[in-house]
Symmetry: C2
Subunit: 671 residues, 2 copies
């Protein structure tokens, strides 16, 4: 007898090669060589994930003559698959069915790779590979046998070990409680969802190939959830709702006060946010047509107070110095312990907090934007009631938060409102006539376009939202209505009736009618205070880093997504920078949660990065005050904006006789 012949197989694109005996399947060969070829059903011809393309021809480069008939012919299992799931693309075979009978070059198409890359790339950083913490394994489990008293769970463990090399799987009682029924309902063929290669989180009585996870961003105002296919990385349903904690207080500090005043109030706040998130689970599951039980993992970002309240940790210490967190590291808990009804053994992973004021939301932004992967010195700003600021690059990262207050969200502004249809979000002021024109959310026309009144009849024009406030004050400065110090020039009342006196100060009338919308001196002051706090925080980080300019600026969060970055720079929220490198990142925190959902390694990565971030406590820095005072000016008393001035014509410096009352005095004198 002679030895059976063996065949040379080369896989592309990896280039991995090896010799195998006659009759070995392409899938087996790929496994032995460590080629990234997917399979959920374990070679049973059910899942179709192991599709490969057999190359035709002579490959001198590989030294292989490859032909379609160098594998066994199309078989009945493939027929069954094609009938059920549709025909395979031309030249494709199921890798588990095609067996070697000659030398071969086999291409593994991208959709057959386990570790596909998510389409979205982090700018100039490495792309995210799909490699979630939970994977599905289809197994056939031995039936119980009177001669061998091994439990059902032990036989499942053995099946996973033998068929998938997944060893010593553990399971929570919630999963074990349904184990026997599921095994019998599936006639001992089941799909196991295994987390981190070690914990059974769900068991299905049939073949499954779709697994889902939920990425959640818990904001003070809204909670957003994105149901994500853990196989493709695709978001299959999104939903958001108001954070019901709002009934306990509009902003974070009033919610902390509620807890301080009402013993046990933290439990109400916790129940409220958990209930809302569980409702969202139901909503996105319904929308995507999947069961709650198909959701295997949840990742969460949020500011420190939301993060703690969701986890059931009392936030009271976060309400005052020294702002001690209960926990800072990434944290995993059973979803059911957090009131979420998903897969019985499913987990929630909360990203780490950076400091008492810099939360898991910022960690999400850092993971999403990846400044630690770049040489470019990047400034990340997430503006909310607190601005959370990160500065750095590959070699060093710094972070702080700065108390901007709610002015950017339209609070404390006489005509301010939340971003909603009818709110003014864009403003232009004519440099000569000082006449404004504006756009409102929900309408693409400017206020001086024909048809604007009709188009906005339904919503009305109701107020000015955060991004509108930024633009109007920047435009007021560019039009010479306010000085560099932020004083409304009362003398302009002579040129336009839009400048109106209010006691000792003046205001600018944006819109006459119902409601009447004017920007008062107090409104300007509120924005100045907010933007000065933000800028002073940025400057502290730049000082600490030892730089006088940054190379890239990314604005994160809802506010950051809506403002025009040029106006933000005109007003001096952010330092000078090439405007081509200033951008909004949208909900970068939520993207960070999605990355943590799709890529297991990213969890250790962000945990590690966060530990390395140097935290600056703005309240303790003596330089803060000076930076703050300089930043009260528009754009800044000290700092130049050469890049900005290439694009925007700054007004002539204007000095009034006396800061606050100058206008009025002059008017009195003139009058």
């Amino acid at each position: 007898m002679t030895d059976a012949p063996d065949h040379l197989v080369v896989f592309t694109p990896s280039g991995k090669r090896g010799r195998f005996a006659d009759g070995v399947s392409v899938l087996e060969a790929a496994r032995k060589l460590g080629v990234d070829l997917d399979s959920v059903c374990g070679g049973r011809g059910i899942c179709g994930r192991c599709q490969v393309q057999v190359a035709e021809g002579s490959f001198a480069k590989h030294g292989v003559e490859s032909h379609a008939d160098h594998v066994t012919p199309w078989n009945a299992v493939e027929d069954r698959y094609a009938t059920k799931r549709g025909p395979l693309a031309d030249g494709r075979r199921l890798g588990c069915q095609a067996r070697l009978c000659g030398d071969l070059v086999v291409d593994v198409p991208p959709d057959s790779q386990v570790h596909r890359q998510v389409v979205r790339k982090r700018a100039e950083a490495h792309p995210i590979e799909i490699d979630p913490v939970v994977r599905l394994y289809y197994v056939e489990v031995d039936e119980p046998d009177m001669h061998d008293p091994a439990s059902d769970f032990r036989r499942l463990q053995l099946a996973l070990a033998r068929q998938w090399s997944v060893e010593n799987v553990r399971a929570d009682l919630a999963v074990l409680a349904g184990l026997q029924k599921t095994l019998r309902a599936g006639a001992w063929k089941v799909t196991a969802a295994v987390r981190n290669g070690g914990e059974l989180v769900a068991l299905y009585p049939d073949f499954r190939e779709r697994a889902y996870g939920l990425a959640v961003d818990i904001g003070s105002t809204t909670i957003a959830a994105h149901l994500t296919d853990l196989t493709t990385g695709e978001v299959v349903a999104s939903a958001g709702l108001m954070n019901p904690q709002i009934r306990f207080g509009e902003d974070l500090m009033s919610r902390v006060s509620y807890v301080m005043m009402n013993p046990g109030g933290e439990r109400e706040l916790t129940a409220s946010v958990r209930g809302a998130l569980d409702d969202l689970v139901g909503e996105v599951a319904r929308e995507a047509g999947v069961e709650r039980m198909d959701v295997l993992e949840v990742t969460v970002v949020g500011n420190p107070i939301m993060h703690h309240l969701f986890l059931g940790l009392d936030p009271v210490e976060l309400g005052g110095a020294p702002f001690a967190l209960t926990i800072d590291g990434a944290y995993e808990a059973r979803a059911r312990d957090l009131g979420l009804s998903i897969a019985p053994g499913g987990f929630v992973f909360a990203l780490p907090c950076i400091a008492g004021h810099v939360g898991a939301d910022t960690a999400g932004v850092v993971l999403s934007e990846g400044p630690y992967l770049k040489d470019e010195l990047t400034l990340l700003v997430d503006v909310g009631t607190n601005a959370e600021i990160v500065l750095g690059n590959r070699s060093r990262l710094l972070a702080c938060s700065s108390p901007t207050g709610p002015a950017f969200e339209g609070a404390q502004i006489s005509c301010g409102q939340r971003a909603a249809p009818g709110a003014i979000e864009r403003v232009r002021i004519d440099r000569d006539t000082l006449e404004p024109r504006y756009k409102v959310i929900g309408c693409d026309l400017w206020s001086d376009d024909a048809g604007f009144a009709g188009a906005t009849a339904a919503t009305g024009v109701t107020g000015v939202c955060g991004s509108g406030i930024i633009e109007i004050i920047a435009e007021m400065w560019l039009a010479g209505i306010i000085t560099q110090d932020g004083v409304i020039d009362g003398s302009l009342a002579a040129r336009t009736p839009r400048i109106e006196a209010n006691g000792r100060t003046f205001s600018y009338l944006l819109r006459d009618g119902e409601p009447r919308l004017a920007i008062t001196q107090n409104d300007v002051r509120a924005i100045q205070l907010a933007k000065a706090a933000l800028y002073a925080g940025v400057k502290l980080l730049m000082d600490r880093y030892g730089v006088s300019r940054v190379e890239r600026i990314t604005l994160a969060g809802a506010f950051g997504s809506h403002i025009d970055v040029t106006y933000a720079m005109v007003l001096g929220l952010i330092p000078d920078c090439d405007l081509a490198k200033v951008a909004s990142a949208g909900n970068a925190a939520g993207t960070g949660a999605r990355i943590a959902l799709l890529n297991a390694a990213s969890r250790a990565e962000i945990q590690d990065v966060v530990r390395r971030i140097e935290k600056i406590e703005t309240a303790l820095e003596p330089a803060f005050q000076e930076h703050f005072v300089n930043a009260m000016a528009i754009p800044n008393k000290q700092d130049a904006f050469p890049e900005l001035e290439k694009v925007v014509r700054f007004p002539e410096p204007k000095v009034l006789a006396s800061a606050d009352e100058g206008g009025r005095r002059r008017r009195r004198r003139e009058g």
Copy 2:
């Protein structure tokens, strides 16, 4: 400058020795040498656990001149300790306060060792060391600092790592929820209860040195709990109550039937047993004067159905072949997930099940009796509705269960009842007159003693309990009232009116009066069937092991504790053996739970032993039937009892004309 002198220190009884610099404390020296010297407070002079005795004199053996003044003098910290906690024994010092200033021989008394040995010894096996899974650590935690945003938990982790080398402790949210308040209430000095060196299960705002655990035996009829001091091994409170599942069915199978007939019924049964156990936690805690929160760990044994129901696992599959367990290995779950209110992060450890009919209770017996540690071939029998039987020694262990039915518990017996005051538990029959005398539970007098009627007036004489049934039937055989085949000899009606005809069979009148107690032919048959099943199981194991006799027999469980082992052997429940080596072990299952509570290593040990046990399924063994038939005879048709015959005089073999009706026929002929 010369080097500071160093001193030779020898610790007894370990003999460990080393040289240390001047001023090093005895505790530090002990730690460096790995001497087993306890400390909970970490050398702060609070706990008094590190007490040592400084030896006086010249120790040629060690080459040391040791004197009391070779350590620093008694100090203020020791004064404070003695004032608060009482004076130290003569010559004792706190090891953390006494610092070296000369050579020394130091004795570590047993009560200062961490790994004290529990007094109770496993016969001829190694004794159990106290080394529980949970230990207490007193730590001082850094206060929060604005310059360092480390969370409270991270600072606690660091304190445990620095002060106790306990690294990377984890904590459940239930523990973390109270963390900040506890740290502040304790002014940053707290006692941490850490499980397996890695998980924080409780945190106390003060110095604690007592930790408690609960060993639980969940029986079908009763649940027993023993609150145990994890430091001393002492049981500080015990309590038991009826298993409230009894309202769903008296025996195991009727409870499984309840679940089969009532979908969701398993949840009722689970809630019922968990509620009862949680009540017991409260009861033992109250009795011992400790808080529920001071109970750090629970260990549980029980038969497979109780084990599964307590864990919330549906027992239906255990109700019929192939008797598939959901899980068989040891299992840990959070106490709160099992409805038990103990320390917030406390765990329950359930011992492993051996097979579908051989449960964690038997694993407890095996752990307690340790047959796997001996050369002696030991037979362990735990008699209940099922007899659970283990045979083996160091080299091999076998187990099976045998369906004895409830006869041994007094069920199916016309005059049977549960063991309770008023139940007959001891019986003697005069060989000549065939007159009986008996004792009842709750009274030390025999029924023919003066004063018996008065002494039992309160309880009455109400029936015969399990151990009474064994004795009466054994005595009936010894007195010649029944044949080896178990037939009541009707011809004896001629000699005594206590033999009465009932239709075609006869009965023996044990007691005339109210109630009238008689042993019927059916009663004898029921006991024969039960004991034959038990003995046949034993024989199967002996066959499999390849032996014809055993060297030691231990009876476990409530029934095993009460029966007279000699009568058990006379009746042929157990095989022949030197009676000096046959004993009751009391609640050995519960003892196993207590061992698992006190000694961490025992958990891996029993897990490992159970995996090695060979399980025999009696129903599948062809030889069972033959063994069973032989064992219907008293004591046995085939097997000899030479050891027993040294002590007990067997009656002359008696053969009636025809098995069941012989007596009656003969009487008819005679009459």
